[in-house]
């Protein structure tokens, strides 16, 4: 029996995960409600004016999305533990990276849907209006989404094998993600306010977008190179 190709396996696993999600809507419901709660709590906590809210919105959006992403990431692999699906996968000839890519793509899609639903909410609750070009915000959204999701999916697989897996994931994901978080918050804020923030000197959104792009490429390669090691860690 020849082993299935990476693309075919990825597509099959992704289709399975999306179908499961479509029928249960577990991940998207819990993420959406969680993000909504964070947004409401932030509004109470800071009570910003329109001008202030434009200045802090970048930070608020990404903090809310980051926490919501962790909610989805924690559910990624749990399903595969039941009935020992993960062990069955390990002994099968399927390429390990197909599993990883499928999970990462699925999470990417969930977070992208979340972003699309959350953006109007943010605009309404915080009276936002972007001064900079909107296409840049879309680009930042996609790059930042992948930056969180690729490492997040990987670390979720790692924390699957620890004693307190739900807590472990943010504990290792957040410190590693600090440069990406900084880039996404700075870029978003600069596009929204139309100016470079005082704190970042003369940097432009372009610098941060490029940083996010390079970050995405580097960590995608690292994840793909190391996933088999983590999957087979005993």
């Amino acid at each position: 029996m020849s082993s299935p190709s990476l693309a075919a396996m990825t597509r099959a696993t992704l289709a399975k995960d999306l179908r499961l999600e479509w029928r249960s809507k577990d991940a998207i419901n819990s993420m959406l409600f969680f993000a909504l709660l964070v947004v409401v709590i932030f509004a109470f906590a800071f009570d910003p004016t329109a001008e202030e809210s434009r200045r802090i919105a970048g930070g608020l959006i990404w903090t809310a999305l980051l926490f919501a992403t962790v909610v989805a990431l924690n559910q990624t692999w749990a399903r595969e533990l039941r009935n020992n699906v993960l062990d069955a996968y390990r002994v099968s000839p399927a390429p390990p990276n197909a599993m990883f890519l499928a999970k990462a793509f699925a999470n990417f899609i969930f977070v992208a849907v979340l972003q699309m639903l959350m953006t109007p909410l943010f605009i309404i609750f915080y009276n936002l209006r972007s001064i900079g070009p909107v296409w840049q915000l879309v680009l930042i959204g996609l790059l930042a989404n992948w930056a969180l999701v690729v490492n997040g999916t990987f670390f979720a697989a790692m924390s699957l094998r620890t004693r307190n897996r739900e807590i472990m994931l943010p504990l290792i994901l957040f410190p590693i993600s600090i440069p990406a978080l900084m880039a996404m918050v700075e870029a978003t804020t600069q596009v929204l306010t139309g100016t470079a923030q005082v704190i970042s000197g003369d940097s432009s959104p372009r610098f941060w977008i490029q940083l996010l792009g390079v970050y995405d490429v580097v960590f995608t390669v690292v994840c793909l190179a190391l996933f088999e090691t983590v999957l087979n860690a005993e």
Partner: protein
């Protein structure tokens, strides 16, 4: 091996005492900052020791993933723990120095922030080790160390955009940089002493870890023998 360890420990002790004497008594009092500047002789060598530990950890982690030797893992664990301790010392002595000199305990400038982020990454590393079962911890930790290794350039690049309050390197800078020769002497002796001290503690922790592994193996073997 045991003799070498004792000799190295004694030499380190002598160096540390001499360094202390140089820093507190021989070195002149700094003109504007006063005696608080003497923290410099501990702050900077500690930072150097912490970075040395993290570098050792990165190399040992890569070595472990390539060869899967228990010794590489013991070195990685020992250097990460010692590195976190030295990094903590840097983060504590820094504010003590900053408060009288800058008038603030903390500022989110490039070097402070990146040291803090490095500390966070390695605390996460130790947490991951602590909460993994003993068989899996080495692989998972080594993997995380490699993520940390690739993360460091991004941390520095992104934080460099922030304005820097921390002084530029005093030595090897421009025309007006440089230390008083006596200060430089005291500093270099302390740098040497702290490097030796750091390596000594790593060595001790490494031996402890190897002994722990041996005990664990012996227990496992005995359990297997009883069953047979």
């Amino acid at each position: 091996m045991k003799n070498a360890f004792v000799i190295f420990a004694l030499a380190t002790l002598a160096l540390l005492s001499y360094g202390l004497y140089m820093a507190l008594i021989v070195a002149p009092t700094e003109a504007t900052m006063g005696d608080v500047q003497r923290i410099f002789y501990y702050h900077v060598p500690s930072a150097w020791a912490a970075f040395l530990c993290f570098a050792i950890n990165a190399v040992a982690s890569i070595w472990y993933l390539a060869k899967r030797g228990v010794k590489a893992d013991a070195i990685a664990l020992a250097s990460a723990e010692v590195g976190v301790v030295f990094c903590t010392i840097v983060l504590i002595t820094g504010p003590i120095w900053a408060r009288p000199v800058w008038g603030i305990w903390w500022t989110w400038d490039a070097r402070l922030t990146s040291t803090l982020v490095l500390w966070l990454i390695y605390v996460a590393y130790l947490m991951l080790r602590r909460f993994s079962s003993s068989g899996r911890a080495p692989v998972l930790a080594a993997t995380l160390a490699i993520f940390g290794f690739f993360d460091v350039p991004f941390v520095y690049l992104s934080i460099r955009i922030f304005r820097t309050q921390h002084p530029q390197p005093v030595m090897g800078g421009g025309e007006n940089s440089g230390l008083d020769p006596t200060m430089a002497h005291a500093f270099l002796w302390n740098l040497l002493a702290f490097t030796c001290y750091c390596l000594l503690v790593i060595w001790m922790r490494y031996r402890l870890q190897v002994a722990e592994q041996a005990v664990e193996d012996a227990h496992a073997e005995r359990a297997l023998g009883e069953r047979a």
